[in-house]
Amino acid sequence: MSLGAIFVGIAVASIVAVYIAQPFRHTTTNPDALIEAWIAKLPPASPPTPTLPNSPTPPPPHSPPPPLLHFPSPTPKSISARNVGGE
């Protein structure tokens, strides 16, 4: 059996294995559980922590849309302040 065929076989077997095992993966990589665990690890903070628009925490409902940060902002502080103000 040629080496190429063996490689193709291994590649196909890997893809199939990943596809078939997909239903079992949620127990270890449940994103909700990961976020909950991450939040639980955070020290309790008294003042509200300023957040950047690309923070993993989703914005609360009806919040104004975050500003578009196509370029590094020259005044990150003011953006943070505006976000805090928005909340």
Binding site: S2, A5, G9, Y19, I20
Partner: protein, 825 residues
Amino acid sequence: MVGNIGTLLTGLALAVALYAAYAAWRGIHLPAAQGRDWLQSAQRATNALAALLGAALLMLLLAFLTNHFEISYVAQHSSTVIPIYLKISAVWAGQEGSLLLWCFLQALFAALATGRASEHARPLVPWATFFLALVTAFFVAVTLFLSSPFTLLAQVPLEGRGLNPLLRHPGMIFHPPALYVGYVGLAIPFAFALAALVTRQIKEWTTAIRTWTLIAWLGLGLGLLLGMRWAYDVLGWGGYWGWDPVENAGLLPWLTATALLHGAVMQEEKRGFHVWNMFLVIFSFALVLFGTFATRSGMIQSVHAYTASNLGGYFLTAIAVTLVGSLGLLYARRAALKTASAHMESLLSRDGMFFVTLVLFLMLTVSVLIGSLLPTLTEALSGQRFEAGPEWFDRVTGPQFAALVFVIGLCPLLGRAAATLKRLQQVRWIVIGGAVAVTVGAALAGFTDALSLIGFALIGFAATTTLAEFVEGVSTRRKRTGEAPLNALWRLLRLQRRKYGGYLVHFGVILMALGIIGTRMYPFETQTTVSAGQSTAVGKYTLLFEELKRDFVDDYTTTWATVSIYRNGVYLTALQPRLNTYTGTDQTVTVPALQPGLREDLYLILSGWSDDGAAVTFKVVINALVNFLWLGGLIFLAGGALALWPQMEHKTWNTVALVVGLALLVGAGWAMWGIPHGAVDYGSGRPLIGQAAPDFRLSTLDGQAISLASLRGQVAVVNFWASWCPSCVDEMPDLQSVWTAYQGKGVTFLGVAYRDEEAAVRSALAQYGTTYPVGLDTGDRIAKQYGITGTPETFVIAPDGRVVYIHIGPLTGEALAAQLDAVLK
């Protein structure tokens, strides 16, 4: 590389199939929360299985298309010279490839049936996945370990052996896949039925898999029809169904599947038949395995069977496991099945007639099975093989099929027993009228055998009641909506697909019955030998043998005879039956030619010829009413497709489905009647001996205008020739000498120069010293009147204007003189 990848993919498929069964099993037995993951994984494994086997099949196709002769299977069934469409059909031309196709279809159907299960089917899916994975694993294991299409050769041949000549037919691209759709399709209802038994949800499983049963049934029906047509067009024995064991192997599960479809209707209407349906679905699947065993074990000898292999034992074991396991399960659930059964009102009621239908189908199945096994059984028991031939099958199954047609006729009238009787009374005159009309029509067409007339009456009865159902439906709809008749029919078919699809199937079967009566009860077959230019009468047909030719094509030599066909003395067409000899294998294949007609087909087979090609032997078969069989088959398929047609919300998809369906039907019709099956149209035929010679006017080169009518009272010799035709100029001195000898005895010669130029003709005449009148046939006018197919041809016309002698090819002076002497006497 291609072969190795194919083997790896098949091996991987086996592992995935076993995993799918294991995952389904675990998913069923674990608590719901954990089990759900396993069941989802099993579903994904089933999908992956279909993809892997599809990829393996593509690898095999690639190997055929790119001539990978290092793969033994490709080397055995292909070559560089066969066209692409034959390379595609060669993929399943042998046992190994056909098994891989089987595996792929099985996996694909399993993935679709379990992944897109209806609401009724969903509770049964886990167990169905388990059973289907096991079935697929069995077939994949057989393919991988016992009959792999990817086995490599130690020495790579430069050229393959080519495809079996018998399989070189476009229909062979579709015939095996269609049959396999039927075979593997029946595994779906089987798996769901077993799941229903295991889970004790025995009431609604038929509804859950109705579509799959229909697909399998329709696939088998299409496969059988294509096989019949292939036998008719290719095998060249004059028939379409020889009760061959392999044909029977396809028919048996179709019979039980038909019964199952009827039983399922009753179960869905909550009228019982639970046990019947379980038996039918189990036996349908067991018969599928039996068919596979029969064609691959070497148990039977047939043109359709694969070569004997060592697979027989495995399939026999699979049949035993299937029967013992499923019947055991059925027995264990007998109590639940018993409580679900209902009581029948009367035999004349709807459920009563469905019961009769099931019994008839079962009797037919048993009869055909016994007939198929008789040679093996008698040989095992007494040491002597008793072959149950077509006569045996016709005698045994004929009355049963007749009873089925009668039941089909009763079907539209059925309701409750009292209502059925009342309905029968209401429509009795219409029904009797229909039966009498068909019988009288058949008798007037010459079909007067008493037994066949009973059959025609039954057909008339069944056709009338079935068509009346359409008429009544349209008329009721028109009264309600005021639609035009065709519009009302169209909407009726669209809105009640299942009901009218069923009736269309019935009508198709009725027409097929007409074809079966015609071909089975009025067989005509004869063998005749004729010389070039001579004619022979076969019934109302006259066959005039023109010439025999030979040509070399790719890897075979083809020899064909041209025969002009006349019916009641009127020219119809010219047929060219062939005999192909394949150089590699020395295998000869007869390619029949046929002239189709509503009353009958004239079917011509070239059986042999003399060394010099001057005389040929034909087998002539007249197949009465055979086209009703094909027409009925198409209507049958259309009805099945209508019943299967899904309710799609998008109008576009409905239109697409309709267009595709109609295109397939038109394509099938074109393949049957549109393609000239060995027919060549020369425009007009030559006059037969004894017929009046067509009159013509010829302007000769010396400036005269001679009409044939003006030669009345003399013997006329009309010679078609050309200066560019060597055999024509060869015979010119002979003709001139006869002309010289007979010109004073009331004989006139006329030379008709065919597709020639004046200068060349004048030069030839001068060279050979021809003195009789010769003229140019401008625009092939006279040649067409005389239906000549080449030069030279000579006609001798008696003083009364009738043709008395025709000679095709070069003529000697002695032969012509002898003919003239005979006429002058």
